[in-house]
C-alpha cells in the first residue's frame, strides 16, 4: 500500500468528468444520426420502400453453374455432369406440407433419407427457394409427376445436372467426389457463392480444386404474384461455368496399375521426375464414388467402413509405412557424402551386427551374411549389416538431416488436401514424447525400420528427386485449368520444392549406377524385372517388417498369417539416361519387394516408356538374391 501514491481525488474526478462530457457528446451525436436515419427511412423514403415491399414479389432465383469437368491427360472424362430429373418443393407455395408429402408418396417413391434431408433443408433455407426432395427420378416417375403437376402447388419438376464418375472406382482416391453440403460446410462456405447449390467437393481433386470447379451462380429476377407464381423474368444474369481440370494422370496407366494390384492392398505413385507431374495415383482397394453424390445409404457406408481392407483409406497419400530397404537408395548416397563414414572401405558382413557392449544381435536378412561388401555390393544385394554400420556412424539426427531434402518427414506439397507427413525420427522427437533415444533405434533406422515412416507419395517424390539429379519437384495432379467456354487453358507451371546439395556431383552418378545394378546385374535383388528390360532401370527393393520377430526366431512367410506378413516395396526410375518416370510401389503384406512390388513397377514403366502394356510377362529367372 505504501507504494501507491496518495490519490488526488479532485484531479481524478475532473479528468473523468471531462472525458465523460466528451463521450456523452459523441453518444448523443450518434443517437441523433440513428434518429435522422430512421426519420429518413420511415418518412422520406417510405414510399420508395413501400413500393419495394409491395413489389417484394420480385425474387432473385439462383441458377446453378455447371461444375467443371475433370479429364485425364488424354481427354478421358473422369468426372462429368449428366442431367437428372429432380423433384423440388417451394415451401412458401405449399399450404399443408405433410399432406403434400403424403400425396407425393403416391406418385414417386420417397424414403426416410430423402425426407430427413428435405426437412433439414426446409429449416435452413429461405422459404421461396427450391428445396430438393428427390433426385434421380426415373423416366416413369418424371412422367407421372409431369401429368399431375398442376394439382400440386409448390412442386417443381426440374432437370438438373448431377455429378457422375463414369469410370466408377478408377482413381477415386485422387479424384474424390462431391456430396451434399452438410451443416459444418454450411458454416464455412460463402453462402452467396453456393446459393441454390446442393453439392460441394468432399475429397480429392474435387475438394482441393473446389474454387476452380465451382463456377459462379447466376440469377434471374422473377416477378411473382401474391401467391408466389412466377409471372415474368425481369432480369437474367447468366451463371459462369466452373473451369475444367486436365490432370496429368493417364487413365489407362491408372487402370493398368489398379488391375495389377487387383484385390491386394497397396499403393502406387508414378511421376514425371522433371516436372513432378503425377501419371498414376493408386490406392487399392478402390470403391465407387457415385453413391456418395446424393448421400450413400448407411448400410453400404458401414460395409465400406468396416471392410477389413479399408478401401476408404487413401494409402497413396495417407498410408504411412516403414520404408524398409528402399531407404538404402538414399542412405547409400549418404555413405559417399558424410564425413564420418568411409565409403571406400569394405565392410565385413557375417550375417549379424552387435553394438559395442551389447549382446543383442541385429540380423541381416541373409542368414549366412554377405561376406566382405563395399557400397556397391551393399546396395545391389541390400546388405543390412553395411547400413547398420553406416547408421551408427551417422547417428540418427544426421540421417534425418540427410533425408529431409528428399521430402521425407514433411508434406510433399502435392495439390491435394490432408496429406500425411510421415516421420523422420530424431533424438529431440523422442525426447518430446518423454522417452530417451536408444542406440539400437539408430541401428534399425539405417535399414528403414523402427520409427521412420514414409508415405508412397513421399517415396515417389524422393525417387524422382534422385532421377532428377537432386532437384525435387512439387508433385502435381492438375496439369491445366481450362475455361469451359473459351477453351483457353492455363497450364500448371512445374515448381521446385527443394534441392539436394552434394559435395561431389559424381556421388549421385555412382549411387544411380548402384541402383541400376540392383535391377540389371544377376546379383541384384530386382534382377527379375531387369534381365529382359529393353531400357535401363534404376531401382531398390524393400521389405518392411510388420510384426517384430523375437531374438533367435526366424520369419517364415508360410507360417505367418497374411495380415502380419511383410510389406513389399519397390522404387525405381527409368530410363536411367533420361528418366521419364519414377515409380513407388507398396503392396501391403505382399512379402518380398522383388517378387510382389517390382513387377508392378515394371509394367508401369513399360507402359510409359514403350507405350504398351506387355512387359515382364515371361517367367523371370530366379534372382540369387530375393530380398
Amino acid at each position: 500500500m505504501l507504494n501507491i501514491p496518495i490519490k488526488d481525488q479532485f484531479r481524478e474526478s475532473r479528468v473523468f468528468n471531462s472525458r465523460l462530457t466528451v463521450i456523452g457528446a459523441i453518444v448523443l451525436t450518434l443517437i441523433l444520426a440513428l434518429f435522422l436515419r430512421l426519420v429518413y427511412l420511415q418518412i422520406f423514403a417510405h414510399r420508395h420502400f413501400e413500393t419495394l415491399s409491395q413489389a417484394n414479389r420480385i425474387k432473385p432465383i439462383p441458377i446453378q453453374p455447371p461444375r467443371g469437368l475433370v479429364l485425364d491427360r488424354n481427354g478421358v472424362v473422369l468426372a462429368q455432369n449428366y442431367p437428372v430429373y429432380t423433384l423440388e418443393i417451394i415451401p412458401e407455395q405449399v399450404d399443408d406440407m405433410n399432406s403434400l408429402l403424403e400425396e407425393l408418396k403416391q406418385v414417386v417413391s420417397l424414403n426416410e433419407a430423402d425426407l430427413k434431408a428435405f426437412r433439414k433443408q426446409l429449416r435452413e433455407r429461405p422459404r421461396f427457394e427450391n428445396i430438393l426432395l428427390r433426385s434421380n427420378l426415373t423416366e416413369e416417375e418424371a412422367a407421372r409427376l409431369a401429368v399431375r403437376r398442376t394439382y400440386f402447388s409448390g412442386v417443381e419438376l426440374e432437370a438438373r445436372l448431377q455429378r457422375h464418375y463414369p469410370l466408377a472406382g478408377l482413381g477415386v482416391h485422387f479424384l474424390g467426389y462431391v456430396g451434399r453440403i452438410n451443416e459444418q460446410e454450411l458454416e464455412r462456405i460463402d453462402k452467396a457463392a453456393y446459393r441454390g447449390m446442393q453439392h460441394i467437393g468432399k475429397l480429392g481433386v474435387e475438394i482441393s480444386y473446389e474454387k476452380t470447379l465451382l463456377g459462379q451462380v447466376g440469377f434471374e429476377k422473377v416477378e411473382t404474384n401474391a401467391h408466389g407464381r412466377s409471372l415474368r423474368i425481369l432480369e437474367r444474369i447468366a451463371p459462369v461455368a466452373g473451369k475444367n481440370l486436365t490432370l496429368s494422370i493417364d487413365a489407362k496407366l491408372q487402370a493398368l496399375a489398379e488391375q495389377t494390384l487387383g484385390q491386394r492392398r497397396g499403393a502406387v505413385i508414378a511421376m514425371e521426375p522433371a516436372t513432378g507431374a503425377i501419371l498414376a495415383f493408386v490406392s487399392t482397394p478402390t470403391y465407387d464414388p457415385n453413391p456418395f453424390v446424393n448421400g450413400i445409404d448407411q448400410d453400404s457406408y458401414d460395409a465400406l467402413l468396416n471392410d477389413p481392407d479399408k478401401p476408404l483409406i487413401n494409402r497413396a497419400l495417407n498410408g504411412q509405412y516403414a520404408p524398409g530397404s528402399t531407404i538404402k537408395a538414399f542412405l547409400g548416397l549418404a555413405a559417399l557424402e558424410v564425413d564420418n563414414f568411409d565409403a571406400s572401405k569394405p565392410v565385413v558382413c557375417p550375417g549379424w551386427f552387435t553394438l559395442p557392449g551389447s549382446s543383442h544381435q541385429f540380423r541381416d536378412w541373409k542368414k549366412t551374411g554377405h561376406g566382405i561388401v563395399n557400397l556397391h555390393d551393399a546396395v545391389v544385394q541390400s546388405c543390412d549389416v553395411y547400413f547398420y554400420k553406416l547408421a551408427v556412424a551417422m547417428e540418427v539426427d544426421a540421417m534425418k538431416k540427410f533425408l529431409e531434402p528428399f521430402g521425407f518427414g514433411a508434406k510433399t506439397g502435392v495439390d491435394l488436401l490432408n496429406e500425411s507427413e510421415g516421420l523422420l525420427p530424431s533424438v529431440a522427437w523422442k525426447k518430446a514424447r518423454g522417452q530417451p533415444w536408444y542406440p539400437g533405434e539408430t541401428v534399425i533406422t539405417g535399414i528403414g525400420q523402427g520409427s521412420v515412416l514414409v508415405t508412397p507419395m513421399q517415396l515417389a517424390t524422393a525417387t524422382a528427386t534422385l532421377a532428377n539429379h537432386g532437384v525435387r519437384m512439387k508433385p502435381r495432379l492438375v496439369r491445366a485449368t481450362v475455361d469451359a467456354r473459351t477453351q483457353v487453358a492455363s497450364e500448371t507451371v512445374p515448381e521446385t520444392a527443394g534441392q539436394i546439395l552434394l559435395k561431389k556431383k559424381e556421388h549421385l552418378d555412382i549411387q544411380i549406377r548402384n541402383l541400376m545394378d540392383v535391377v540389371h546385374t544377376n546379383r541384384g535383388t530386382a534382377y527379375g524385372i531387369g534381365y529382359n528390360a529393353p531400357y535401363k532401370i534404376a531401382g531398390k527393393t524393400g521389405t518392411a517388417q510388420v510384426k517384430g520377430i523375437a531374438q533367435g526366431q526366424s520369419y517364415s512367410e508360410k507360417l505367418t498369417p497374411e495380415r502380419f506378413r511383410d510389406h513389399a516395396l519397390f522404387i525405381s526410375f527409368a530410363p536411367v539416361e533420361d528418366p521419364k518416370v519414377a515409380v513407388a510401389v507398396i503392396v501391403e503384406n505382399g512379402g518380398h519387394g522383388s517378387s510382389a512390388a517390382a513387377p508392378i513397377a515394371r509394367k508401369i514403366m513399360d507402359h510409359v516408356i514403350l507405350g504398351k502394356t506387355a512387359g515382364a510377362a515371361a517367367p523371370a529367372p530366379a534372382s540369387e538374391n530375393d530380398e
Binding site: F49, S53, P60
Partner: protein, 358 residues
C-alpha cells in the same frame, strides 16, 4: 415494494422491464408466431433479471477485489476454447458444460472492463504511457483471441469496452490521435486479414445492390422492412417482410427491422428513447460514483451497451456493415441477455451502495 432496498435502480429497472415486455411481442411476431421460441426468450429474460438481482447485491468493493480473478478465469477459458477449437477446426466459441452451452467470450465483456478499471484505479489518473500500453494489452489480447474464434461482433464489443475504460481514465489526446493515425495507416493491412465474407459485408455497405443474392440481400431487405413501416407501422404481426421470409434472422439480429416495420417511426423512436434513457442513466451513475474503479466501470459498461444497440440498429438501417451483434434484451437467443443483465446488476450495485454507505 421499495425496489431500492433490493439495490435496484428504479429508472434502469423499469426501462429494462419495458424493453423486455416489448421484446416478447416482437420475438413472437419475428419468429412467425413460434410459441416455443417466445417462451424460450421469456425464460432467458427471467434468468437475466435473476442474475441482475443477484449481482446488484454484491458490494462494489467486492467486485473490485474479484476483478483480476474474473479476468484470469476468462482468459483461461478463452485459451481452452482456442485449444479445443484448433482440434475441431472451424469456428469454435462454446464450451459444452453438459447442461448448457457456455460462451467464454461473454465473460470478457465484463472481465475486460473490470480488470482495466481495477488496473487504472491502482494509481493516479491519467495513466502513464507504459501503464496505458499494458492496459491496451489487457484488452487487445482477449479481443484478438475472440476475433480468432472467429466472432467479430463480440471481439468488437470487448475491444470497445476496454477502449472506453482507457478513454474515460484519461488517455492523453495525443495518444488517441497517434493511435487513430496508426489505425488509419494499418487499416489496409487489416483489410487483408479479414475473411472474404467480412470484406464483402463492408463493401456491400457502399453498394448493397451489387450483390442482391448475397450479403447485400440482408441490408436491402432490412431497409425495405424499416422503410415500409412508415410513421405508424403495419401493426403487430403484420410484418410482410418477416412473414414472407424475405428478412433473415428476423427474431435475432434483425429483430429491430420487424419491430420498425410493425410499429413504424413512432415505435422506433419509442425504442430509441428507452435505449437512450438507459445509457444516459448509466452515464449519470458513473458521474455520481464515488471512486475511480466504480466510475470507470459504470461508464464503460453503459457505453458498451450503447455500442451494442448502435451497431445493431446501424446495421439494420444500413449505415453500418453487418456484424453479428444482437440488439440487447430484444434479440432472441444467445447468452448475451445474461451478460447484459449482469452488467446492469453491477451498475445498479454501484449506484445503490453508494447511497447507502454514504
Amino acid at each position: 415494494m421499495n425496489i431500492e432496498r433490493l439495490h435496484l435502480d428504479k429508472t434502469l429497472f423499469y426501462a429494462l422491464l419495458a424493453l423486455a415486455a416489448i421484446s416478447l411481442f416482437v420475438v413472437y411476431s419475428g419468429s412467425a408466431k413460434d410459441l416455443d421460441a417466445t417462451l424460450g426468450h421469456l425464460l432467458r429474460l427471467v434468468l437475466g433479471f435473476t442474475v441482475l438481482l443477484f449481482v446488484a447485491q454484491i458490494r462494489p468493493e467486492i467486485l473490485e477485489r474479484w476483478s483480476p480473478y474474473i479476468f484470469v478465469a476468462g482468459m483461461l477459458l478463452l485459451i481452452a476454447v482456442l485449444a479445443i477449437g484448433v482440434i475441431g477446426k472451424g469456428a469454435q466459441r462454446w464450451l459444452n458444460l453438459g447442461f448448457f452451452q457456455f460462451q467464454p467470450s461473454e465473460i470478457m465483456k465484463l472481465g475486460v472492463p473490470m480488470m482495466l478499471a481495477w488496473f487504472l484505479a491502482r494509481g493516479n489518473l491519467p495513466p502513464t504511457l507504459p501503464k496505458l500500453a499494458l492496459g491496451f494489452l489487457i484488452m487487445a489480447i482477449p479481443a484478438f483471441m475472440i476475433f480468432k474464434q472467429p466472432d467479430l461482433g463480440t471481439a468488437l464489443l470487448v475491444f470497445g469496452a476496454g477502449t472506453f475504460v482507457l478513454f474515460l481514465g484519461g488517455m492523453r489526446w495525443r495518444v488517441i490521435i497517434t493511435l487513430l493515425t496508426v489505425i488509419a495507416i494499418a487499416a489496409p493491412f487489416a483489410w487483408g486479414h479479414l475473411h472474404d465474407y467480412q470484406r464483402q459485408r463492408v463493401l456491400t455497405l457502399f453498394n448493397p445492390e451489387a450483390d442482391p443474392l448475397g450479403t447485400g440481400y440482408h441490408t436491402i431487405q432490412a431497409m425495405i422492412a424499416v422503410g415500409s413501416g412508415g410513421i405508424y407501422g403495419k401493426g403487430w404481426l403484420n410484418s410482410s417482410q418477416a412473414h414472407l421470409d424475405y428478412l433473415p434472422e428476423s427474431s435475432t439480429d434483425f429483430i429491430f427491422a420487424v419491430y420498425a416495420e410493425e410499429f413504424g417511426l413512432l415505435g422506433s423512436l419509442l425504442m430509441l428513447s428507452i435505449y437512450t434513457i438507459i445509457v444516459a442513466r448509466g452515464l449519470l451513475i458513473a458521474y455520481l460514483a464515488k471512486d475511480t474503479y466504480t466510475r470507470l466501470l459504470a461508464g464503460s459498461l453503459s457505453l458498451t451497451f450503447f455500442l451494442y444497440f448502435f451497431v445493431n440498429m446501424g446495421m439494420v438501417t444500413g449505415i453500418l456493415p453487418i456484424v453479428g451483434v444482437p440488439l440487447p434484451v430484444m434479440s432472441y437467443g444467445g447468452t448475451s441477455i445474461v451478460t447484459i443483465m449482469a452488467a446492469f446488476g453491477i451498475i445498479m450495485s454501484i449506484q445503490t451502495h453508494r447511497k447507502i454507505t454514504e
